[in-house]
């Protein structure tokens, strides 16, 4: 028997959420149609809470650096602690990038740091895969291996709980009555479920011929000057920035000033490198005037910059950008084209 694993029934888990909600904000995933989304835990809506499934439509980065927020010029009340439940592995992988941007270097981002500190992450194994899932090609897996405080693996009538940090341990020790001890017989079921979902992801990867990380490494650099390839990639892009905004790793933001009465306030909103103005300077010079250059830049940042600077791809295989793209540009097809040198213009559907 391991000392960091437990089981909990679904009913007890929801009771736990209710208890936690008295002193914390508890956010859980709900299902609507085929989509999963985050909202505050509401015992009245327990029936539509879906812990398993796949990643939610929105990336969890929005809980740490918000789409629009004040960064200076205001007094911030300390928010309630946040318990964020139902996070999937591809969003946890996003923390490698987000944390490296906001928590390392000479200066930390105080807002992100405080939100990270204030949040307990309860992740959940994916219980199935979607055609757009390709985490296993990008050094990931459909179940959490790092960056969580507590992980849940849903089994037939029970949930296996793995505690990874002191934050997770604090919940267990405070509400010990909900947790029962677990052993190998539980981890065997979990591992078998994980294998089954992994096989689904592998099937989708193989059917499409999505290249894996070993083949992708260095490819953007190698094909950087194939202008035609990048122009073709961008040929149906409408510069909406959805791929940037919905990406769990994209972190860029725009600072802009405003005021509340006579008090100046500095705000930030998420920015997108597909926007023409992204790198433009006041004199009008723009290092990425052309759309294909901005499209290429997005891939360069994800598959060259971050691997070179922190040793991680800034893509987690979540497939959100595939769903979000109005021009039917499929990141898997772009990667395929880079590796095979055989180009396939969008739409990729």
């Amino acid at each position: 028997m391991k000392d960091n694993i437990y089981t909990i029934s679904k009913k007890d888990l929801f009771d736990l959420f209710s208890r936690l909600a008295s002193s914390s904000r508890v956010v859980v995933p709900y299902i609507k149609g085929e989509r999963f989304y985050f909202a505050d835990f509401d015992p009245e809506k327990e029936d539509s809470i879906e812990l398993g499934g796949i990643r939610q439509s929105e990336p969890v980065k929005s809980f740490f650096s918000r789409p629009r927020e004040k960064v200076s010029g205001f007094d911030k009340d300390k928010p309630k602690p946040l318990i964020l439940a139902g996070v999937k592995s591809c969003d946890l992988a996003g923390f490698y990038i987000q944390d490296s941007v906001f928590l390392t270097g000479d200066v930390k981002d105080p807002i992100y740091a405080s939100n990270r500190e204030n949040t307990t992450i309860i992740s959940v194994d994916c219980t199935f895969a979607k055609e757009t899932c390709f985490c296993l090609a990008i050094e990931g897996a459909p179940y959490p291996t790092a960056n969580f405080d507590m992980n849940l693996s849903i089994m037939d009538n029970n949930i296996l709980v793995e505690v990874a940090t002191a934050k997770g341990e604090a919940i267990v020790s405070r509400y010990r009555m909900f947790f029962k001890s677990a052993g190998t017989r539980h981890t065997q079921i979990r591992d078998s479920n994980r294998r089954a979902v992994s096989d689904e992801v592998k099937d989708f990867i193989n059917k499409r011929g999505t290249p894996d990380s070993s083949k992708i490494k260095g490819m953007v650099k190698e094909k950087y000057n194939l202008q035609e390839l990048w122009q073709d990639t961008a040929s149906t892009c409408v510069e909406c920035g959805a791929c940037n905004l919905i990406c769990p790793t994209c972190h860029c933001f725009l600072l802009f000033d405003g005021s509340r009465g006579v008090h100046p306030i500095r705000n930030r909103i998420w920015d997108a490198c597909l926007y023409k103005s992204f790198a433009r300077v006041a004199g009008g010079a723009n290092p990425r005037k052309h759309l294909y250059e901005r499209m290429r830049n997005r891939f360069d940042k994800k598959f060259s910059f971050f691997p070179e600077t922190i040793g991680k791809f800034a893509c987690t295989g979540c497939g959100r950008c595939i769903d979000a793209c109005a021009g039917d540009i499929d990141i898997r097809e772009v990667l395929k084209g880079l590796v095979n040198g055989k180009w396939n213009k969008p739409p990729h559907k």
């Binding site: 941007v101 981002d109 105080p110 500095r266 992204f278 006041a282 290092p287 250059e293």
Partner: protein, 272 residues
């Protein structure tokens, strides 16, 4: 934790009109904020917006800072309306600045274009602080017309700082009063009596000027790692988080904004 996005206030003490679209603002920060020549700061109009500028004053002057600013966009146009007594916001300094220690005992060859002379003025004052440490200082400055030359009243005083300083100005277009060279700044770049082996070249100006000056310097015999370029990208947060000023594996705000040419040579769109 200190909030890196918050500005301190600075009062405008003096405004000098340098040219039709360039002014120098002397400001007094209400709080501690120093810099080393070549580092930049984010200057804001409270509630309106901010933009990155390299101070143009002597970094040993702790009381006041000069910023020489061209009216080029939304924020700078409004900054140009500022009068003594007005309040700016200020945060920084950011970036690495010029590695002055490695310039010591060398010949410093400075090439500026337009408002690009601003950070070079801060560099010059820094060199003047320890003038005997540098073997020779050469300044080549290019402006569009004689009317566009900035620091007009001051340049002659620079010539008196040492017998080893040489300053030459060229204008792209001349006029009746102009006795100097007419032509792009590249036309006044020559070996003169330079000891190139033992020199560093410092360049700041518009991207197209930096490009051709760099190529000319390489033709003259400068090595890639002897050419220091000010890469003025869209620096916004100043701390390598917002993503706007990326050049290959670097952020201009924290890894620059001054780079030697060998570091950025071959990276995409560096001259745009």
């Amino acid at each position: 934790m200190k909030n890196p996005y918050s500005s301190i206030q600075a009062e405008v003490l003096n405004v000098v009109t340098e040219s039709a679209n360039i002014k120098t603002f002397t400001i007094k920060p209400r709080g501690e904020i120093g810099f080393r020549a070549g580092q930049f700061m984010e200057v804001s109009l409270p509630g309106i917006g901010e933009a990155p500028f390299t101070p143009s004053s002597n970094h040993n002057n702790k009381e006041t800072l000069d910023f020489t600013i061209m009216s080029a966009g939304r924020v700078t146009k409004l900054i140009h309306e500022a009068k003594p007594g007005d309040i700016f916001g200020l945060r920084g300094p950011y970036g690495l600045g010029y590695p002055l220690d490695t310039f010591k005992s060398k010949e410093v060859f400075i090439v500026g274009g337009g408002v690009g002379l601003a950070p070079l003025r801060a560099l010059l004052y820094a060199l003047f602080n320890e003038i005997d440490s540098y073997k020779k200082i050469t300044v080549k400055y290019g402006a569009r017309t004689p009317k566009d030359i900035i620091y007009k009243g001051e340049i002659d005083t620079w010539r008196t700082k040492s017998k080893n300083i040489n300053i030459e100005i060229s204008t792209d277009i001349g006029d009746d009063t102009w006795k100097g060279n007419v032509g792009l700044v590249t036309t006044i770049l020559n070996k003169d009596s330079l000891d190139i082996e033992n020199s560093v070249a410092i360049v700041c100006g518009p991207p197209i000027m930096m490009k051709f000056v760099t190529f000319k310097l390489l033709d003259l015999g400068f090595k890639d790692n002897q050419v220091y370029l000010s890469m003025e990208k869209n620096m916004s947060c100043g701390i390598g988080k917002c993503g706007h000023c990326r050049i290959g594996p670097f952020y201009a705000c924290k890894d620059g904004p001054v780079f030697t040419y060998d570091k950025i040579k071959g990276l995409p769109n560096i001259w745009d």
